[in-house]
C-alpha cells in the first residue's frame, strides 16, 4: 500500500477540445457518450467585482434575473419550458464571475440551446420581476442570519478584505439592494454579458464539431463587446484581531485566518500539500487529530487555502460547544505554529501526495464535475493538459518546500479570529491564551 497511483488516461477519457467562436466565446467540449445527456457550464466575467459599491448585489441580481423574462418569453413560460423537459437551468454569481449551468436530455439539445442563447442576449429584466427578486433577496439576507457559519464567514471577509468587493457579501446588503434599478441592470448586462469575456464548457453526448456548428447558429446574435478589465484593486488585508458576535447558540462557530494566495501563485501546489497535512486532509490531518480525534472538541474542523483568480484566503473553520471555544482556538493556533517550526514528516508528505494524486480521477467521475472542472481550468489558465501535469506538480514538492511555504504563508501574528457564539458561555479571555497577544 502506498504506491502512488498515476491517474491513467484522465486526459484520454476527457479528450477536451477547445475552439473560439466568431464572437469570441471560448468553447471547451468533452464528448461523453455513455448517457443521452448534455451539461453546459458557462463562466462570464460579470462578477460582483464590477458593480459599484453603493449598488452591491447588482451583479447577483443580473444573474438571477436571466431566467425571469426575455423578449419572447415570460418567467413562467421559461419555467414551463424547462420543467416540461425535465431540464435544469440555473444561474449564480461570485466575486469574479457569474455562472450559468444547464443540464438536459440529448433529445432536447436544440430547444435548450435556443433558450440559453435567448437568456444571454435578450433578457429584459421586467420591473415586476426586479421587484420580486429584490424582495426575495432581502428575505434571504435576513434568513442567513440564522446560520452562524455564514455570519462568521461574512465577518471574516469583511475584516480580511476591507474596501474591496471581496469583503462584501455577493448578494449585497439591505440598503445596497434597494438601490438597484432596472437601468443599472440593463447597463450591467450590456456591458459585461459578452461572449468574448466568457467560457462555455459542454460535456455530454455530442461531438465537438457538431456542438460548434450549433453554437455558431444559436449564439449568432450574441455580439462581442465590453471593455477588457484588468485585475481588481486589492487593498491591504485587514488587521489581526478577535471579532465576537453574540448569538443564542449552543456552539461557537469559529473562523481563524488571514490572507492566502491566488490560484496562479507558483507556490500553490506546495501550499496545497502543506495544507493537507495541517488541516485539509480530513482524518489524516493534524487539526483533525488534535481537535476532534484526541479531544472530541469538534465534529468538523479543517483548514484551507481558498484561491480566487486574483486573491485568496487561508481559513481554519470549526464548531465547538461555547465553553470549549477558547481551547479549540488555542490548539488550532498551536498547530499552525508547529508546522511553521517543524515542517512535516516524510510519512506525512508521502500520504499527502498519495491522496492528492491518487484521488484526482474522483474529481472527474461525473459529466457535471467534468464541466465545472474544465471551466475552471480555462478560467485559471491551467491548460487542458492540466490533468496530465498534475501528478508531477505534486510529486515535485519536497519536505523543504513544505517547511518553506509554512513559514512563508502562515502568519500567526496576522490571524483574524471570528467567534459567533453565546459569548457569556464562551467566556473568551482577551487577549486569547495563544501567546500571540491577540
Amino acid at each position: 500500500m502506498g504506491v502512488t497511483v498515476i491517474p491513467s488516461s484522465s486526459e484520454a477519457r476527457l479528450s477536451p477540445r477547445r475552439s473560439i467562436l466568431q464572437n469570441g466565446l471560448t468553447v471547451i467540449t468533452s464528448e461523453q457518450k455513455a448517457l443521452p445527456m448534455v451539461t453546459f457550464n458557462l463562466l462570464i466575467d460579470a462578477g460582483a467585482r464590477f458593480e459599484p459599491e453603493a449598488e452591491a448585489g447588482l451583479a447577483n441580481i443580473t444573474a438571477r434575473l436571466l431566467t425571469y423574462g426575455t423578449k419572447n418569453r415570460t418567467a413562467l413560460q421559461i419555467s414551463e419550458t424547462l420543467d416540461y423537459l425535465g431540464a435544469t437551468l440555473s444561474t449564480g454569481c461570485g466575486e469574479e464571475a457569474a455562472t450559468v449551468s444547464m443540464t438536459l436530455l440529448k433529445k432536447d439539445l436544440d430547444t435548450g440551446l435556443q433558450l440559453l442563447a435567448e437568456v444571454l442576449t435578450a433578457s429584459t429584466f421586467p420591473a415586476e420581476e426586479l421587484d420580486r427578486q429584490k424582495q426575495s433577496i432581502l428575505a434571504s439576507i435576513r434568513a442567513r442570519e440564522e446560520q452562524p457559519g455564514y455570519i462568521a464567514h461574512l465577518k471574516f471577509i469583511e475584516v480580511l478584505f476591507p474596501k474591496s468587493s471581496y469583503g462584501r457579501p455577493v448578494e449585497g446588503t439591505e440598503n445596497s439592494v434597494k438601490r438597484v434599478d432596472r437601468p443599472g441592470l440593463l447597463d450591467f448586462y450590456q456591458k459585461y454579458y459578452r461572449p468574448n469575456h466568457a467560457i462555455l464548457t459542454v460535456v455530454g453526448d455530442v461531438s465537438h464539431d457538431l456542438m460548434m456548428q450549433k453554437l455558431g447558429r444559436a449564439f449568432q446574435p450574441w455580439e462581442k463587446g465590453g471593455a477588457s478589465m484588468g485585475p481588481p484593486p486589492l487593498p491591504a488585508p485587514g488587521p489581526a484581531g478577535v471579532i465576537k458576535v453574540n448569538k443564542d447558540l449552543t456552539q461557537a462557530n469559529i473562523i481563524i485566518g488571514h490572507e492566502g494566495v491566488p490560484r496562479s501563485h507558483p507556490d500553490y501546489y506546495a501550499i496545497q500539500v502543506m495544507n493537507y497535512i495541517l488541516g485539509g486532509g480530513g482524518f489524516s490531518s493534524r487539526m483533525m487529530e488534535s481537535i476532534r480525534n484526541r479531544r472530541g472538541l469538534a465534529y468538523s474542523v479543517y483548514s484551507a487555502f481558498e484561491p480566487e483568480k486574483y486573491t485568496g484566503s487561508f481559513q481554519v473553520s470549526m464548531q465547538t460547544k461555547n465553553e470549549s471555544a477558547g481551547d479549540a482556538i488555542r490548539i488550532a493556533i498551536e498547530e499552525i505554529r508547529k508546522i511553521r517550526e517543524q515542517g512535516a514528516t516524510e510519512e506525512e508528505l508521502k500520504a499527502a501526495k498519495d491522496y492528492l494524486i491518487g484521488s484526482f480521477p474522483l474529481r472527474l467521475d461525473t459529466n457535471r464535475k467534468v464541466a465545472t472542472f474544465l471551466s475552471q481550468v480555462e478560467f485559471f489558465g491551467l491548460g487542458l493538459d492540466y490533468p496530465e501535469r498534475y501528478p508531477e506538480l505534486i510529486r515535485g514538492v519536497s519536505r523543504e518546500d513544505v517547511l518553506r511555504v509554512a513559514k512563508r504563508y502562515l502568519h500567526p501574528e496576522k490571524l483574524i479570529v471570528v467567534v459567533v457564539a453565546d459569548q457569556t458561555k464562551a467566556a473568551l479571555k482577551t487577549p486569547l491564551d495563544t501567546g500571540q497577544g491577540l
Binding site: 500500500m1 502506498g2 497511483v5 488516461s9 477519457r13 461523453q32 455513455a34 448517457l35 443521452p36 445527456m37 419555467s79 414551463e80 424547462l82 420543467d83 416540461y84 423537459l85 425535465g86 431540464a87 436530455l105 433529445k107 420580486r132 424582495q135 426575495s136 432581502l138 428575505a139 435576513r142 434568513a143 442570519e145 440564522e146 452562524p148 453574540n246 448569538k247 443564542d248 447558540l249 449552543t250 456552539q251 486532509g281 482524518f283 489524516s284 476532534r292 480525534n293 479531544r295 472530541g296 465534529y299 468538523s300 465547538t320 460547544k321 508521502k350 500520504a351 498519495d354 491522496y355 491518487g358 484521488s359 480521477p361 474522483l362 472527474l364 467521475d365 461525473t366 457535471r368 459569548q423
Partner: protein, 440 residues
Amino acid sequence: MLSKMRLPVLSLFLLLSSIAPAQAQNFKVQEAALDNGLKVLLLEDHKSAVVTFQVWYRVGSRNEIDGRSGLAHFLEHMMFKGTKKMKPEEYSRIIAQNGGNSNAFTTQDHTVYFATMSRDKIGVEIELEADRMTNAVLDDYESEKMVVMEERRLRTEDNPGAALDEVMGAIVYTVYPYRRPVIGWMSDILNLSGDDLRQFYKTYYAPNNAFIVVVGDFDAQQILAKIKQEFGKIARGAAAPKVTLEEPPQKGERRVALKKEAELPLLSMYYHVPNLQDSDGFALDLLSVILASGRSSRLYQDLVYNKRIATGVDADYDGVSIGPAIFSFTAQVMPDKQQAEVESAIDKVVAQVRSEPVSDRELEKAKNQVEAAFVFGQDSIFGQALRIGQFESVAQWQFINAYLPGIRAVTAADVLRVAKKYLDPDHRTVGTLVPTKETK
C-alpha cells in the same frame, strides 16, 4: 459521518439511474449470495475507471430502544476507531493513501459504509470492510461521544429547521421508532455505554443482516471472487430481532409550535402515507412533483411567485422507507407575512388537487421531470449504488426496474385518488417555528 433523518424520494431522483426515456433499458444488476447469507449486488459501469463499494447493514435508528437513541449512529462513528488489526483512524488513512474517498451514514432504516477509489485499489476497501464487520474493538469511546454531541449541536440544536423537524417527528409518530431522531436525544447520547455498543454490534453486524453494493469499472467475476475471499470466512450470525411496533392511525390534527432563535417563521405539514411498496407510491411521487417541483409548479407559482408570502416551498414524499412514510409540505414565511396566510394558501392548493384531476399536461410534465432525473442520476456511480441500496434495504433492488414503468402508468385519476385519500387534514401534523430574538 453523516446522519440523515429522512431521504425524500424525489431528491434521490437526482442521484438515480436506469432507463433512458426512449428505450426501456433495465438496470443490469448481478446478484450473488455467500453461504453466510451476505447478498452481493454488482453493477458494472465502465464510464470512468473508478469503483464505489458499499456495505449496507440492515440496522438503523428504528432498531433502537427508548433511552438508547443514537446508538446506531454512534456505532457508525466507532467503526472508524479501530479493529483488532487497525488502530483508530487507520481505516480512513489507508483509504486516503490509496487515493480513495470514504465515509458512512446512518438513517432510520440502515447504516452504510462506503469508499470510492480507482479500480485497481478497490481490493483494499474490500479487505478493510470485511475486517471491521467482525473485528471492531469499540473501546475508548468517550471522546467520540463528545464528537457526536458536537454533531448534534451543529445539525439540530443550532438549526431552527432541523429542530422543528425533530419535534414534529416525535409527534407525528407516537409509537413507531421513527419518532426518535437518528442522531439521538442529547441525554440518551450521554448515557450510551461500551456494553450498548458491543451488544448492538453483535446483534446487527452480521453477514446475514447486511448486503454489499458495488458499482463501477470492474469485472463482476473477479470482484465477486475477492468479496468471497474476504467476507466468506465470516460466520453467519443469529437472525436480527424484528421491529414489531405499529403506529396506530392518526385521527385528528396535531399541532405543535417551537419557539427558537430564528429570523423567519417556518411552516411544516406532515401527512401519513404508505411507503413505496404500496402501489399508491407512484402517484404520491408525481403528486409531490406537480405540487412543488420547479418554478412552474402549483405551490411555487401560488405562494412564492404570485402571492409572495413564502421564500420557498417544498413538497416531499419520502417513500423509501421500511416502515410508514410521510408526505410533507415545508415553507419559509416571507418577512412581514404571517404563517397563517401561508397555511391557508397551501390548504387551498391542496383542496384543489383533492377535488379536480390535474391536467394531462401537468401530469406529463411531472413524468418528464422524473424520467430526466433518472438519466441524470446515472451520471454518478455513487448515486446509482445509493439507489440500488435503498431499494434493496426497503423492498428489493429489482424494484428499480419497476419504478419508471410504475410512474408512466399513473393516471390523473390516480393522482386525484391519492390526494383525496391521504391529504386529509384529520391525518396531519402541523408544526410552526416561531422565531424569538433575544437581544443580549
